[in-house]
Amino acid sequence: MQLLEFQAKELFREYGINLLNSISSTNIEEGRKHAKELGYPFVIKIQVPVGGRGKAGGIQKCQNDDEFEIKYPQVMDLTIKGEKARAILLEKMADIKKELYLSIFLNRSKRCYTIIASSEGGVEIESVKNQIIKEIGLGEVSDQIAQEVAKEMGLEGKHAEGVIDTLKKLSKLTIEKEAELVEINPLAIMQDDTIMALDGKFVTDDNSNFRHPELEKYQEKSAIEEQAEKSGFSLVELDGDIAVVGNGAGLVMSTLDMLSDNGGKPACFLDVGGGATTESVYEALTLISKLDRVKGILVNLYGGIVKTTVVAEAFLKAYEDNVIDLPVFSRLKGTESEKATEMLQGSRTKIFGTVEEAINAAVMGVKN
């Protein structure tokens, strides 16, 4: 999960990383109060769990009350990469000498934590040529490595000290919270030569959540996502009208790709996990029934050792209990598929021999 900037900064503050004064709010009344407390000028920053906020107009300078009244609601109403504002952060305007870049991430191919630093900050790091990359193993960054990084960034004196200090704190935070990525971009050298984190990005390893109850308050899940998680499913909501259900993340992604290739628009990605049982498929259908935009359900199950009759039972039960009232286009690979097809005769679930047939039928089906 990617935390919002203000949440990342809460963690930064806890670890002693220097920050500008800032306050987050979720409505303009609250915002007005904070504006008074903070004093102009400040920056209005949209809080969404994706990057590219600046380009999308989600970060606006604000000099006075009049500007505030216009810009706060403007920023609040933005949708960036499909994400609506969760909050607005008001942050004091900074007097900056220079912008730097600093991050620690879990290096998947090298299987260790890795530092990326640069003397060019404030832009997307992918576009920066001058990157310093250091693999640091599984432990915290050593004094020696931290000094090397500062030196390679071309920093001296107070600036070097500040970056070394920040890097060590950032590394402690990364390791103690088991983050996949912690990024400060930009990390700024201020006019008074102090070092401050002007932005913050923090991506957790959700598989380690059980060891981090302190991060639970940042968990942001829709009711339906929460229910999916309880059932052991993975659900990603998308904005189309055909719900895609299958077993195994790879297979569901593959179905999503094929559906999109054939002109269909997926409403969700729902992986019920490796095995499929009557209960799990029934629950999946229950979840989908809660998504208003769905006009049809595409099911792609590679049963293997699972009997397809078991899945057919789930469909029948879901119609019987009025859980769903939608057409289901299904491809069930596994044992007893003939019997399953027979069971579903006359129901609103159609079984197809291949994924393509099921997809094409679904695309046609939702058009009517």
Binding site: R108, E126, D205, N207, A249, M253, D257
Partner: protein, 305 residues
């Protein structure tokens, strides 16, 4: 380099040639016992099980259960284990196995914290052992040995190596291969986690020198740069056996985790486009859908004839 066939089959002069012993960690749990039975039915020589506190029992009236891996290894001399414990206990189970001398550890659990995987890998490296997974369907030589949770139906003995990040896509694509007359010499599940004990390049190194290998299929998905690294390695070593790839997740939105912990695109890192373009650079066609894999493979074989 890991001699994977040496570990899985052994040498003809070995007394346990083609029936290497496998220990099942978590054999008394619902999941572990189901798949222990399935593996035994497939012909895998399950020699022991381990469940702390359940030592002394017999699984299915014949497989002895031990409390620790050390006891199980002492009694059986097995070098292979498969782990079915819940994710939060994986690291301890892996340490127990590696300390006891296991050389091939197949890690089935999903949702293992990345840090635990990295620690287990660190220990495996010190001990000269290999970890497959976590979050893998396992590894198999069709019709000989299955160490994993895959259904037997899609697989047939043959001469194509299949490397896959995804479980069900491995079944789906092997099924398509089998139906087109392409049996498999070995299938290796890499796993869907961000950090894999055996990366695609490691799995490639395990299979690239199989003497009668006729081709290779790589089933990748968005996230990380495992596929890109593999494509580069294929170029570097001049591997020229017919190879076809498939990448799942082209239509997935960015910055969303698609079911697998590792399946996430960050900026351009991990994108399908990046992987496809690297495979193209290595002259490896990328199938648009699973059913296309055997077609492309057949095409590649014709050209190489």
């Amino acid at each position: 380099m890991t001699d994977i066939f040496g570990l899985l089959k052994g040498k003809p002069e070995d007394s346990d040639y083609e029936k290497k012993g496998v220990i099942v960690q978590g054999i008394t749990g619902a999941y572990g016992s189901l798949h222990a039975k399935q593996m035994m039915a497939y012909g895998t020589n399950v020699v022991a099980g381990v469940t702390p506190g359940k030592g002394g029992q017999k699984f299915e009236d014949k497989v002895p259960v031990y409390n620790t891996m050390q006891e199980a290894v002492d009694a059986t001399n097995a070098k292979i284990s498969i782990v079915f414990v819940p994710a939060k206990f994986f690291l301890n189970a892996a340490k127990d196995a590696l300390e006891a001398g296991i050389k091939l550890l197949v890690a089935i659990p999903e949702h293992v914290p990345v840090r635990d995987t990295m620690e287990a890998l660190d220990l495996a490296k010190q001990k000269g052992a290999v970890i497959i997974g976590p979050n893998t369907p396992g590894i198999m030589i069709p019709e000989l040995i299955k160490i994993g949770i895959m259904p037997p139906m899609p697989f047939k003995a043959g001469k194509i190596a299949v490397l896959s990040k995804s479980g069900t896509l491995l079944y789906e694509i092997s099924d398509a291969l089998t139906n087109s007359g392409f049996g498999q010499s070995i299938t290796i599940g890499i796993g869907g986690d961000p950090v894999n004990g055996t990366r695609l390049i490691d799995a490639f190194d395990m299979v690239k020198d199989i003497p009668d290998l006729e081709g290779m299929v790589v089933v990748g998905e968005i996230g990380g740069d495992s596929e890109e690294m593999l494509a580069q390695r294929i170029i570097d070593v001049g591997f020229n056996k017919p190879t076809v790839a498939y990448i799942a997740g082209r239509a997935a939105p960015k910055e969303k985790r698609m079911g697998h912990a590792g399946a996430i695109v960050m900026g351009t890192y991990g994108s399908a486009e990046s992987k496809v373009s690297m495979f193209n650079k290595a002259n490896i066609p990328v199938a648009k859908r699973p059913a296309e894999v055997p077609v492309l493979l057949a095409g590649k074989m014709e050209k190489s004839d």
